[in-house]
Symmetry: C2
Amino acid sequence: MAQRHPDSPLAPTAPGAHLPSADRTGGEVLAAYLGAHAGEFLRALRLGEEDEASAVQLMRGSARRISAALHTYEPLVEAVWAERLRGELGWLNATLSREQQCAVHLARLRSALARLTSDEGGGQARSTMAVGAARAGALLERQLTLVRTRAHSSTLQAFGSSRFHAVADSVALLVSELPLTTAAAAPAPRVLTPLAEAAHRRLVEAAQALPLAVAARPYNGYALRTVLAESPADAGADEAQDAPWHRTRALVRLSRYALEVLDGAAPPPAGSPNAARLHGAARALDRHREAADAAAAVAGAARTPRITPATAYALGVLHTDQRSEVEAARYAFSHMWQGMVPAPAPATAP
Amino acid sequence: MAQRHPDSPLAPTAPGAHLPSADRTGGEVLAAYLGAHAGEFLRALRLGEEDEASAVQLMRGSARRISAALHTYEPLVEAVWAERLRGELGWLNATLSREQQCAVHLARLRSALARLTSDEGGGQARSTMAVGAARAGALLERQLTLVRTRAHSSTLQAFGSSRFHAVADSVALLVSELPLTTAAAAPAPRVLTPLAEAAHRRLVEAAQALPLAVAARPYNGYALRTVLAESPADAGADEAQDAPWHRTRALVRLSRYALEVLDGAAPPPAGSPNAARLHGAARALDRHREAADAAAAVAGAARTPRITPATAYALGVLHTDQRSEVEAARYAFSHMWQGMVPAPAPATAP
């Protein structure tokens, strides 16, 4: 097969298009991956002025992948440098994500309200319930639009900041000046596969610590348990229950990107699911995250002073509906996971 | 096997204890069943003063079975007489059921509130949410206890009424003076099995008209669609959606009792599920009914004037939770039904 040196000029190709080779070093393979995504990042930067939304999406995807690769394959790069760059990419990704997340939550809650008010029985169009639903909808639109507008300002501010230009410079230098360690000189299969395997193992450990058996039973009601328990100031109960799932979501992503880096130059770790299945699992956990965040936004709106009881009732309905979506996403993930990863050996009978 | 003439004095045995015989007439078998349950009814009447709750339960069970048997096997009995008795038994059952239903709804909503407020995150104990939940609970206790007290008065009033004594007299006469038609003189297998089959067919038709394919998909959200749609005056949207399920519940019951009548003297209709499976299906649809009624009680409580937004929020949560239970019961029934009754031949591909 044809080879391409990682230092060669980067064509704006999709990440999967690198040509594999069995005798490249770990450093070369990692550099090719980082270089390709640095290229995407810089392309997004140029796109920024014409199509901001696409540019942000492209930039976030590259930033996440660069950061994930530097995390999983950390022994191949200079540690202090990698950590600093990952910190800056994390800041950028968090800043750029807020606006899109608001849009996602708003769309989700709009469609939930439409679904919950579909009057099949032909009742009166302007009932108290319907008025409450309409007011709840207007309240959420107002609040989330305000947050979104602020997030948009933050995005624009970030793009104009010297901090952002420093990140962009660091990313541009990834192509030519990647600070590799001596470990990176080993053949790709010997050095990359064990690190991908470690990433996969962290995911398996996190997923198996989840209450998967409960979640795999439909209508278990587990995600609803905290709907009326959470304290008004910090939504603590939901968050405590959701955190291990969010952590697993982050690890699914790391596993996906770790496999992308290998790209035929090193074998994937034994027992790791293929990219399509990981992508499916990631989508279930994305939905989990979105529903959990939307539920929290509804709980937040319910703390608005002087809302009417009808508005509050509709918000209670909407909150519960979104927690039920959280439960549904856990159900979906649990079944996907069971099909993806062999169950651990059963404990000996008591 | 030993035989017992249906006119012999009735021992207070369980209905299943009649001795089967292949050469009894349809009328004899039906009379034995009616006589046994008339005996239970009269036993409940004597028990009434010591243990009212058990007496009511026993009496309702007998009244339902007598009425169901007279319905399914109507061609064997004098039609006008049967219809009048069924009307009176229906009145009695409805009157006696209200108190118990209130108790069931209250217990269901109490446990739902406890479940929804189980604070796993260790939030503040007296948050706004928790206060709202407590107030919603107190409101429901107050309203349902009031309804229950009224229902109890109605029960006592019914027991003292001349209408009730007339029903009891009619039931007592079932043992000795059952007005059978000439059709009742035919052998039990020839006359009872086709009627049981017709009852089963009515059930199959009703069940297959239900949206079983949707209901069999977990988290389909169908039962939640009307949560915010229903008009405040009549809860019309929920009811329109639930009615076919309630009707199927009644037909499951008729099928169960139709099989009880046969009791070995006539073969059960081909393809009818056994009693245990019908009982399981009946329980799923009982749960459907209870959750639907509890949801309606919550919607009713939300129409109380001058409730606080926090109370209204908790009621919105509770309403949605109970509609989610409705969905779960439909899911359970759909899966039971698929295991119980062979699917109809698929339509030819378009």
